[in-house]
């Protein structure tokens, strides 16, 4: 085995220090080393987006990031968005609009949607659809997901915690 590398991550506001193989994918670090299993894996090729988290405030596919690359970074996962008692507006909208069925793509979809709303707080339907091009859902046909994101965009606080694009 390759030499392990120490990695410090701030995940949902909590500091973690772990030693990892360089090849450990960020998604596996989050799921297996930190026990946050809300982030999922649905493909091998960066297509499905189920693994989407925010890395230093930007939505990324955590199956295509090495944990070592995230050393020193802050990560937000679905568990950091809101709890059952205090839902994020996007979570609330997904619930209200039946924006999920099996729920497997949902954490990634919500994290991608949060990234979308950070960049574009008042999107059109077409912009929402384009903005979710990196996330696959097999259950919903996207209809209610798109509706949920549009509804969330109209509620306050939907974009809290996201960072702007900076050059």
């Amino acid at each position: 085995m390759s030499k392990t590398v120490p990695v410090r991550l701030q995940v949902n506001g909590v500091e973690h220090a772990i030693d990892v193989e360089p090849r450990l994918l960020l998604v596996h670090a989050i799921r297996e080393n930190l026990g946050l299993t809300g982030t999922h894996v649905g493909c091998d090729t960066s297509n499905c987006g189920a693994c989407t988290v925010h890395l230093d405030g930007r939505a990324v596919k955590s199956c295509t990031v090495l944990a070592v690359q995230a050393d020193g970074a802050s990560v937000t996962t679905i568990e950091g968005m809101g709890t059952e008692d205090d839902l994020h507006p996007l979570q609330e909208a997904f619930w209200n609009d039946h924006g999920l069925q099996c729920g497997y793509c949902t954490p990634g979809m919500i994290m991608a949607a949060a990234g979308l709303l950070a960049d574009n707080p008042n999107p059109t339907e077409a912009e929402v659809r384009k903005g979710l091009e990196g996330n696959l859902c097999r259950c919903t046909g996207y209809h209610n997901i798109v509706k949920a994101v549009l509804d969330a965009s109209k509620s306050k606080g939907a974009t809290v915690g996201q960072s702007e694009v900076t050059a």
Partner: protein, 791 residues
């Protein structure tokens, strides 16, 4: 004697938000990969890169030396007496079914065929070790084209001397007479290509054998089936096997099977006395999670000049792949059951031939046989309309079975439960005016955009299944079709419903709770629905074939009614009234006319569990069970319209509008119905335009990842317009029909008909799916070539 349950209708029919969702939107759901056990090992599979080859040697020594590797198994190590099951033995029909071992024995028959199982201590290191297993192959001739395979060798399984799996037929009416009476006879070869279920959660299994009990967590639609077959294959008594389907991230039929990986991991966990886990990668899933469709329909239909159908004959050649999984050869026959569609065709005959090729097995994928039938039927209706110079909708109306409420027997002897096809179409046309679309099309054409509209009026057969119709002595399924439910009222008045169905996204926890809540006068939040665990509820037959509501929901309703009946007896006894005078109103059982005197469910439960004052001879407790076996299938139906825009220069198709009217009987929860329809339509659009499983001539899978297997994204699709008609099914007390597959069954012909409608001005008359840009562009070029060719 039952009380009047005026609780009825309080929750049923409402678009309640789902009870499932709070955990799923916060990342608290537990899918199989979220479950981990102390001492857990990981499994990886060494898979064949060859489509057909003899295994000449397997060297596992290097892999075994890898740090962390605990065991490497090959077929020689397996001490199972039987292979993976296939559950169809149709009376009087010979089915050539090869052995299908958990690990390939002597030869591999498709790319991905598992050759060795590596078990070790870490998820990552077993993948490395699997690469160290050295397998030598002696390649054998490969066949991937079903028409070539049925015409002769090379044989996938030499011992049969043929690639044919079976011939199976269903028909009724006088076909010869029908064709003799026809003014027009139309023939087509219609390809329904292979596709994947592509649930976003890949499959996975975790098995533990501890203290004499095998517990298996699997991402499966069929935990009860899996338990039964683990018992049979591993020789463990069924009571010592527990299968848990935890949160399951979609199935669409692809998790309706007994897979090598499930059996192999369970077997290894027993051998190694440690938990063994395997999580499928998407690349594996594309290879070895069963595919669907892959039929060629050679269809011949006859009609009078006025459009009246006189005969309908379909020969189906179904590419079943190299092995037969649980239901593989019985899926194409399901096409036959609905080959009448919504039409009054007097003679209908379907002849199915299954054929083996060096591909992975096909089996049930969303719709399972009915999408293929509906595609053929609805595409042919438009083809016939063109031939006759008739409007496609007029032709359909001409042949619709008139509205019926309680049974219509088709030419084949299939009895549809209820239908009102004209009402669904009329309602559809309230939402979309074809003339308007055609007018828009005129305006767009000069910009190079070809707009077309396509329709599909469908029915399908679901609610699997009446045991007498599908069982061993009838259709030949080695099983029944009933479903179970247990309703347990707890002493404090909250309720647990145990259902034998096993949902994976459909929302049973909400819909079933609504059904039970209404019958017991409580809020649905008081009803916990437990599913997918063979140790908690009664035997069940799981979830597939749009059966859950019509069979499992009905079982729940009947069980809740049993509880309500007992509650009525208890209340009558306690209030010293006659049971027939007791009614359930506003959450209380009370004497009709005296709403003040009454008991809530909690009070009834108290009386039942502290049984000081129960009617003479009544057992204590408030806990009932039902095994419900339906008397017939149910037949949802509807009408869909699709509008496409085609860039004629590039051939790219975009679906710009979709209107759907579906009838699945009275709605339990309209929100859930819409969700099923949206997803179903998308699955059909996906097949029609984007998705295909493709093998090259050497049997290599060329669409092996989500890069090449193109599921549509939000960016490719429109929002959908949905509406419903409600025609009660006479089959069950809820009046409901299934809706999980309806959208998919309806969708593909609507897309193809729309595309052909759009391209008609360019002279294109027919194209097969998938309607890729290149295929459309080529069709346009061909049509231009023909138009330009000298006569």
């Amino acid at each position: 004697m039952s009380a009047t349950t005026t609780g009825n209708g309080t929750y049923v029919g409402q678009s309640l938000r789902r009870k499932e969702d709070p955990r799923l939107i916060t990342g608290q759901g537990s899918y199989v990969d979220d479950v981990n056990l102390p001492g857990q090992l990981w499994a990886a599979w060494v898979r064949s890169p060859e489509a057909h080859a003899k295994i000449t040697s397997i060297d596992t020594s290097a892999a075994k030396e890898r740090p962390g590797v605990v065991a490497v198994y090959t077929n020689a190590d397996l001490d199972m007496e039987a292979g993976l099951p296939m559950a169809w033995v149709p009376p009087g029909v010979e089915v050539n079914t090869p052995d299908h071992w958990v690990l390939a024995k002597d030869a591999v028959k498709h790319v991905g065929d598992p050759v060795a199982l590596v078990v070790g201590t870490s998820r990552y290191s077993v993948v490395d070790a699997a690469e160290d297993v050295i397998v030598e192959y002696d390649p054998l001739p490969v066949v991937t084209d079903p028409e070539a395979a049925i015409a002769g060798g090379p044989f996938v399984h030499e011992q049969f001397g043929t690639n044919k799996v079976c011939d199976w037929s269903l028909g009724g009416g006088d076909l010869e007479k029908g064709f003799a009476e026809a003014d027009v006879i139309l023939e087509r070869r219609i390809v329904n290509h292979r596709m994947a279920g592509a649930a976003i959660e890949p499959r996975g299994v975790l098995a533990q054998h501890r203290a004499g009990k095998l517990t298996v967590w699997s991402s499966t639609q069929v935990p009860h089936f899996l338990r039964l077959f683990l018992t049979i294959l591993l020789g463990i008594p069924e009571d010592r096997v527990r299968v848990i389907a935890p949160e399951v991230g979609g199935g669409f039929g692809s998790k309706l099977n007994i897979y090598a990986e499930e059996v192999g991991c369970a077997w290894a966990s027993i051998k190694l006395r440690r938990p063994v886990k395997w999580i499928e990668t998407r690349s594996e899933g594309m290879m070895v999670t069963h595919h669907g469709r892959d039929q060629i329909n050679y269809v011949k239909i006859g009609a009078k000049r006025d459009g009246t159908l006189t005969a309908w004959h379909t020969r189906i050649l179904a590419d079943l792949g190299a092995y037969q999984m649980l239901l593989t050869p019985l899926i194409p026959p399901l096409s036959a059951f609905v080959m009448s569609g919504v039409y009054n065709t007097p003679a209908v005959q379907t002849d199915v031939t299954g054929v083996m090729t060096n591909k992975f097995a096909t089996d049930a994928i969303r719709g399972a046989g009915r999408p293929e039938a509906t595609h053929t039927i609805e595409v042919m209706m438009d083809q016939l309309a063109q031939e006759l110079g008739m409007d496609g909708l007029e032709l359909r109306r001409k042949n619709f079975i008139p509205p019926f409420e309680n049974g219509h027997e088709t030419a084949m002897g299939i009895v549809y439960d209820s239908g009102n096809y004209v009402a669904a179409l009329d309602k559809l046309l309230e939402h979309i005016d074809p003339a308007e679309v055609r007018q828009e099309a005129e305006g767009l054409r000069e910009k190079g955009v070809y707009r077309g509209i396509g329709f599909s009026t469908y029915t399908e057969i679901c609610g699997n299944a009446p045991s007498r119709a599908v069982g061993p002595s009838a259709f030949g399924l080695q099983g029944g079709g009933w479903e179970s439910a247990t309703v347990r009222v707890h002493a404090s008045g909250s309720v647990t419903l145990y259902t034998g169905t096993s949902p994976h996204g459909q929302g049973h926890e909400t819909g079933f709770a609504q059904i039970v809540a209404d019958r017991l006068g409580i809020d649905p939040s008081m009803v916990e629905v437990i599913h997918g665990d063979t140790d908690t509820g009664p035997w069940g037959l799981d979830t597939y074939g749009s059966r859950s509501l019509a069979v499992g929901g009905e079982a729940a309703a009947r069980t809740a009614k049993k509880v309500a009946d007992k509650a009525t007896q208890i209340v009558a006894h306690q209030l010293e009234a006659a049971p027939e005078d007791i009614e359930l109103r506003d959450g209380k059982w009370s004497v009709r006319g005296s709403p003040d005197r009454g008991m809530t469910l909690a009070e009834v439960a108290g009386a039942a569990y502290i049984p000081e004052n129960l009617p003479e001879g009544m057992e204590p407790g408030l806990d009932e069970q039902t095994f419900y076996d339906p008397e017939n299938f149910v037949f949802p139906f509807g009408a869909h319209a699709c509008v496409v825009d085609i860039d004629a220069e590039t051939g790219k198709v975009k679906v710009v509008r979709w209107v759907a009217v579906d009838d699945c009987g009275p709605a339990i929860n309209p929100l859930l119905i819409d969700g099923q329809v949206h997803g179903g339509i998308t699955h059909g659009i996906g097949q029609a335009l984007y998705e295909r499983i493709e093998y090259d001539e050497s049997g290599q899978l060329v669409t092996g990842t989500f890069v090449d297997y193109a599921l549509p994204t939000a960016a490719e699709l429109p929002s959908y317009e949905t509406d419903r008609t409600e025609t009660r099914s006479p089959v069950n007390t809820l009046g409901v029909k299934g809706v999980g597959e309806a959208g998919t069954i309806a969708a593909t012909p609507a897309v193809l008909n729309a595309v052909l409608d759009a391209l008609r001005p360019l002279g294109v008359t027919y194209i097969d799916m998938p309607l890729s840009p290149m295929r459309i562009w080529e069709a346009i070029q061909d049509a231009k070539g023909k138009a330009g060719a000298p006569a």
